[in-house]
């Protein structure tokens, strides 16, 4: 884990700017994807509305890899689906703005949005077993996108599809085109999904827990593949995951979500060295780390994501938080910079910073 972290930091450091935080409105480079105050509310008759995503703002710059981390139900998948307009219309209210290269995806006409999906922004889903159509060959499913977005005729599309399968490491690609999804292993299916997503060299790739349904070795291969492809093509990647290991190995900037809001966002290194939010801290303490002495017990976060407060009354994490103080329940905490400008935090009683900036960083 450590080793991969350092490998990754080389290209990141080569960029002209240090990676900016989510809400720090910086001059200079314009973000590829600019999400502002995205709020998604699910309403159904007879029940009170559920606010799945609550005022999320974040930036993704070209070539950057951004992680969105959180437990199940924290709103990370809904954020990505809402950004691409993939949530149904009925009973769903989406507000805020999602600007992709200056165009707001939320107000864009349906035709334009459809033309943009798959061409400029693509998505890889969690479960490759169900995200591929079981009755069509994988070749058919890839060529469909090529003919749709790249105006290829059938033969060209077929050749290109074989090239794509080859590029994601599927051996004997030409023959595999005639395979049905159920004839492939889980890892190969996910490779096919990635090939489909990258078919039109999108500028932004959203990967929604792409490795959750896979076993550990295959998941490592898939992550390696994503890492290589993304850096080869300078595609920006939004990685949605609950797995901090994935974040550590891949992401430049990390946003931690809890109960629909971003509670902490920081460059990867800062986040791992100095998790300030008790939730982030808890997440890190609940996974084994190589830099901990052997035999150190893992610290679970007590309770479950359903033990939340509405944000309007205080910090949603307070009921599960070990550092809860009275102020936690005194109205919604705000997301504000701590220590470094790039480190944002939504907490009134954060974990004291430990790293080098700790001297001036403790609030």
């Amino acid at each position: 884990m450590r080793r991969t972290t350092e490998q990754r930091s080389a290209p990141a450091g080569a960029r002209p700017d240090a990676v900016p935080g989510a809400t720090t409105g910086r001059g200079g480079s314009v973000p590829l994807l600019k999400v502002r105050d995205l709020t998604v509310t699910f309403g159904s008759r007879g029940r009170s509305d559920v606010r799945a995503v609550d005022g999320v703002s974040l930036d993704v710059f070209a070539g950057q890899t951004v992680g969105i981390v959180g437990e199940s139900g924290s709103g990370k998948s809904v954020t990505s689906l809402a950004a691409l307009g993939l949530l149904g219309k009925r009973g769903v209210t989406v507000t805020g703005s999602v600007e992709f290269e200056g165009d707001d995806l939320l107000t864009m006409p349906d035709d334009e949005l459809r033309a943009l999906r798959g061409r400029d922004v693509a998505m890889v889903f969690q479960d490759p077993m169900s995200a591929l159509n079981p009755v069509l060959t994988v070749g058919r499913q890839i060529t469909e996108i090529l003919t749709r977005h790249r105006d290829m005729d059938r033969r060209e599309a077929k050749q290109e599809a074989a090239r794509l399968l080859d590029s994601v490491g599927i051996a004997d690609a030409t023959r595999r085109l005639t395979s049905f999804p159920h004839q492939l292993s889980g890892g190969m299916r996910q490779r096919v999904m990635i090939a489909m997503a990258l078919a039109c060299s999108p500028r932004l790739l959203i990967a929604d827990e792409p490795t959750t349904a896979l076993d550990v070795t295959i998941s490592a291969q898939i992550l390696e593949l994503l890492r290589t492809l993304v850096s080869d093509t300078q595609t920006a990647l939004v990685m949605i995951t609950h797995d901090l290991g994935v974040v550590a190995g891949l992401c430049d900037q990390v946003h931690v979500m809890y109960s629909g809001r971003i509670v902490e966002s920081a460059p990867r290194k800062v986040l791992f060295a100095d998790p300030a939010h008790p939730y982030t801290h808890g997440l890190l303490a609940s996974v084994p780390r190589l830099d901990q002495p052997r035999g150190t017990p893992l610290q679970p976060i007590p309770g479950s994501p359903s033990d939340t407060l509405p944000w309007s009354r205080g910090c949603a994490f307070a009921p599960r938080c070990s550092r809860q103080v009275d102020e936690c329940l005194g109205g919604p905490p705000v997301l504000e910079p701590v220590a470094a400008q790039s480190h944002l935090l939504r907490c009134v009683n954060p974990v004291p910073l430990q790293g080098p900036p700790a001297a001036e960083g403790t609030p």
Binding site: L84, L86, R114, A115, L116, R117, G118, R119, A122, M123, F125, D127, S130, A131, L132, N133, P134, V135, L136, E144, I145, R148, H149, D166, S167, V168, G169, I170, A171, D172, R175, R176, T178, S179, F180, H182, Q183, L184, S185, G187, M188, R191, M193, M196, A197, A199, I218, Q221, E224, L225, T228
Partner: protein
């Protein structure tokens, strides 16, 4: 891009010959493993073969009378000459049964084709468009389904007059709402599937998603229903004929009519009622067994 070629080889475990097999071949393989599917397939095959080769198999013409052997109230039973005996008009029962298979098969296939094609069309429209179109079509099917199937068929057949055509139309119409509802429900479920979402996320157009992704995946229950509907169509046809709504031509050896005609002679010749009854039961059983086995073979949950 050689980084993961070796891994891919290792993770791609399926055998080369398997890669060529389609979905139909997969289903067929599962069918072969099910005993009830085999029994069903044998019965259905026999039924179809008998229907096709009736003139070759039947020892006599279905209309030829052997008047020398029958007297009022006396029906010669099975003999070497007439294996299943003679009916009340002196015709060879076995030959009539064999020719009867033709009528049952044709009525079944034509009526199910009518019902399935129109039903699939409406179901596709309802499932593809949703909204008020869906609401309208579903309310119409509700109205049709509110009337018991056979009763509706009786009404339609009576309205159209006594003929084989009206029997087929009547049974076909009864099947329309069943197919429409089934396909529409199946499509609604498939529309929510991950691959439909994935296709949307990759910019595939809506009509393509409906026609190319959702519709083919929704067909499995329809195929099963078609097999089962063949069975019900045979029963319904027999029922309509029994009630006197079939063709008025007495020379037609239709199983339901044969059953109805023996009604008056049940005390003297119970076997004459048994044979057509048995023929109906066996052919229906064949389609049912095959349909149920198909349901299992096509179930995506059992697909690896």
């Amino acid at each position: 891009m050689s980084l993961s070629q070796s891994e891919a080889v290792e993770s791609g475990v399926s055998a080369p010959e398997e890669a060529r097999g389609g979905l139909a071949r997969d289903a067929l393989r599962r069918l072969r493993r099910s005993p009830s599917a085999i029994v069903g397939a044998v019965l259905v095959t026999l039924f179809v073969l008998v229907a096709i080769f009736a003139p070759l198999l039947a020892p006599y013409s279905p209309t030829e009378q052997d008047l020398s052997q029958i007297r009022p109230g006396v029906f010669p039973g099975p003999s070497a000459e007439h294996l299943l005996g003679l009916d009340q008009l002196g015709r060879d029962e076995l030959s009539r049964l064999i020719y009867g298979a033709r009528y049952s098969l044709v009525i079944g296939i034509v009526s199910v084709t009518i019902g399935a094609s129109i039903g699939i069309l409406f179901g596709l429209i309802a499932g593809a468009f949703g909204g008020w179109v869906d609401g309208l079509i579903m309310r119409l099917t509700d109205i049709m389904l509110a009337v018991p199937g056979l009763l509706l068929a009786i009404g339609i057949a009576a309205l159209l007059g006594r003929s084989l055509t009206s029997v087929m139309i009547a049974i076909g119409v009864v099947n329309i709402p069943i197919f429409a509802r089934l396909l529409r429900g199946s499509m609604l479920a498939q529309r929510e599937s991950d691959y439909a979402l994935a296709a949307t996320a990759l910019g595939v157009k809506r009509w393509r998603i409906v026609l190319l992704h959702v519709f083919p995946n929704s067909l499995a229950p329809v195929i099963v229903q078609a097999t089962l509907a063949l069975a019900t169509a045979i029963i319904d046809a027999a029922g309509l004929a029994f009630l006197g709504l079939g063709s008025p031509d007495p020379s037609i050896p239709e199983w339901g009519r044969m059953l109805a005609e023996t009604n008056a002679f049940l005390a003297n010749a119970p076997l004459l009622a048994l044979w057509p009854g048995l023929a109906i039961v066996l052919s229906v059983l064949g389609f049912y067994l095959l349909g149920e086995a198909l349901r299992e073979a096509l179930d995506p949950k059992l697909r690896r």
